[in-house]
């Protein structure tokens, strides 16, 4: 994995500190071209990996790249699935079955009717595969070396103790996509424990890592203990700036205290900002 990885929150109006800033971002990145321009600038700075949620608009970005294969030959996507709000809003409006009907490709309900439903009832791993494939469709032909499950799903599964489903996800991502499975979580220590318990070896785990403990359940102390241990996992840091509460210099200096951290995801919307953040991230290596 590359050390500095561009995230996508700024493109999709996600701002954990300000609803107003979130709206300003929505306006600035209304047009897909504006996103592509920033990705191009990132490449000029030597940032060739983009971690993004499976938002509908990523399809257009991938379409653009498929049309210019030479230019984007070295470009890598790290998809994070699913785009939760799409499903959450659908659940409120359509219910569980209606949501599955809306999002499963080819609509197995329409094709097989009751048989499809019966199939769903006994075969959840296959249902998961169908949903993964639906989310991955937009990346066809793109380089996706790591495929992440979003924290809302990981932490839900963690709380409910669906251990086998984690294992199945990891195996499916390796087999079907030739990629490494990744897990985004707000509960890093527990996720490391789970992977050890169920035998997912050396997993890539992406979590908030910042010195004020923002979105770090279990607390800074426990996180630091895990990051300094020799337990087998590949940590990836996000929310290093704690949604903007920390200055980039001090934030990255903290992250760089832990050699175990392989990559850092950051958000930026201008070339200068990307270059500066990359420099800070790589300083400690």
């Amino acid at each position: 994995m590359d050390r500095a990885i561009l995230g996508d929150n700024q493109f999709f109006a996600v701002n954990h500190l300000s609803d107003e800033r979130s709206r300003a971002q929505a306006i600035r990145f209304k047009d897909n071209r504006a996103i592509i321009d920033v990705l191009d600038q990132a490449m000029e700075c030597g940032v060739n990996t983009f971690m993004c949620t499976t938002h509908d608009r990523i399809t257009a970005i991938c379409d653009h790249m498929r049309k210019n294969p030479a230019k984007y030959a070295d470009f890598k996507f790290l998809p994070g699935m699913p785009y939760a709000h799409k499903y959450a809003n659908a659940l409120t409006e359509l219910g569980i079955l209606g949501t599955l009907q809306a999002y499963i490709p080819g609509n197995i309900f329409a094709v097989t009717g009751k048989a499809g439903l019966a199939f769903l009832r006994k075969d959840f791993p296959s249902l998961m595969e169908l949903l993964v494939d639906a989310e991955m469709k937009m990346f066809e032909g793109m380089n996706t070396p790591v495929i992440f499950l979003q924290n809302v799903i990981v932490d839900l599964m963690l709380g409910l103790g669906t251990d086998e489903l984690f294992v199945h996800y990891a195996e499916y991502i390796r087999k079907r996509y030739g990629a490494e499975p990744g897990f985004i979580t707000m509960n890093l220590p527990r996720m490391v424990d789970l992977c050890e318990r169920v035998g997912i070896d050396n997993p890539i785990i992406c979590s908030s890592i910042n010195k004020i403990g923002f979105r770090m359940s279990g607390g800074v102390g426990e996180y630091e203990e895990y990051l300094q241990s020799d337990r087998r996992f590949r940590p990836m840091a996000m929310q290093c700036l704690a949604a903007g509460a920390l200055k980039p210099t001090e934030a990255m200096a903290y992250v760089n205290r832990f050699p175990k951290i392989e990559s850092v995801v950051f958000g930026a919307s201008s070339k200068a900002h990307i270059a500066e953040t990359k420099r800070l991230i790589e300083q400690g290596v």
């Binding site: 954990h16 300000s18 659940l91 409120t92 959840f124 839900l156 709380g159 409910l160 489903l165």
Partner: protein, 345 residues
């Protein structure tokens, strides 16, 4: 260990179950739902005991506390059953389908002396709590007006068939979205809404229920203001809730991420300078033991569990406080229906 059981495994029920499962001091002892797909899923993917009959679950498992996370129309019988068995009860919002049912549940919970809580999670968001604290301390002087708002992209088309679009089940924007704002206004002001006027509850896409709620409100302490809520608003990415309160000495504006404080003069005792001041969620959020979808959802359950452990029955989010929200919802609905009748004439 506190033994917990969850009735109802929709979006919120599954989320509560996962949080309970993630907390070290809680044993998620059983879950209950009538849906075959959900039953099969829990059976195949988890080790949590599953029931399809909530009475049987409560009688067999004998949990310390029960989470009632079903459509509103079912709350009354389920909450009552759990209370009768001596369980502490966490009930999702909105609390009751009718004020009468709500009053009965409040009385029964009091009689049984158990912890009772309703899932108005905004009461556990740091920015709103800081707003409450600063308002009570008088940093904006005498308040004279408030605005409570919430917008989100829930119903954006003319279809949809869940209980949230069914009036008889307790659906509609006022029950699902506006309830949060009404409840939050009571909380941050430390008073309670007692009256309303000029209510508008238009349907935009829904057939049976309102998709937006507007109107004027008054609190018991005399403070007046407005509410503006719309769940058919796709200008925002997700539900966005805010409260603004203006006083003769300044203004407070809070949403889930930021508290903006305007004061007319320096308030060094609060660390406030004349003009605008900002408090971010990172400054005012306490850590939780397990995080799913945001600290506030864990914080409300941690508070509930702590109340059980310490025998604290008058909590931050009691049945009684939620009943007042039901009361104002009923009053607003009546106001809107009566103005429709007048227009017909």
């Amino acid at each position: 260990m506190i033994k917990a059981a969850v009735i109802g495994l929709g979006k919120m029920g599954i989320s509560h179950a996962a949080i309970l499962g993630g907390l070290p001091e809680v044993e998620l002892a059983a879950v209950c739902d009538t849906d075959g797909l959900i039953q099969s899923g829990f059976g195949k993917l988890t080790r949590i005991p599953f029931f399809t009959d909530y009475r049987k679950m409560i009688d067999t498992v004998r949990p310390d506390c029960v989470y009632v996370i079903t459509p509103t129309r079912m709350h009354y019988e389920m909450v009552k059953y759990a209370l009768e068995k001596g369980c502490h009860v966490f009930c999702e919002k909105p609390f009751a389908l009718t004020v009468g049912q709500g009053e009965e549940m409040v009385a029964l919970a009091r009689e049984k002396g158990v912890v009772n809580q309703v899932g108005y999670h905004n009461r556990y968001i740091g920015t709103f709590n800081e707003m409450k604290r600063l308002l009570a301390a008088g940093v904006i002087g005498r308040p004279f007006h408030f605005i409570g708002e919430a917008y989100g992209p829930v119903v954006l088309k003319k279809k949809g068939s869940t209980w949230r679009s069914d009036k008889k089940s307790g659906g509609g924007c006022i029950e699902d979205y506006a309830a949060h704002v009404l409840n939050l206004i009571d909380y941050v002001t430390g008073s309670r809404l007692t009256g309303c006027a000029g209510v508008q509850m238009p349907s935009i896409f829904s057939k049976e229920v309102d998709d937006a709620t507007y109107g004027s409100l008054v609190l018991e302490n005399g403070l007046r203001g407005q509410i503006s809520v719309n769940w058919s608003d796709d200008t925002v990415r997700k539900m966005t809730t805010s409260v603004k309160i203006q006083g003769d000495g300044g203004k407070l504006e809070a949403d889930a991420t930021t508290l903006k404080i305007y004061v007319k003069e320096d308030k060094p005792e609060f660390g406030l300078e004349k003009g605008w001041n900002f408090r971010y969620i990172t400054d005012v959020t306490d850590p939780v033991a397990f995080n799913l979808r945001g600290e506030e959802y864990t914080a409300e359950t941690e508070d509930f569990i702590d109340a059980i452990r310490t025998g604290r029955t008058e909590g931050r989010n009691s049945f009684e406080s939620a009943l007042n929200t039901d009361r104002i919802i009923a009053a607003m609905t009546a106001d809107w229906e009566s103005s429709l009748k007048k227009e017909e004439k």
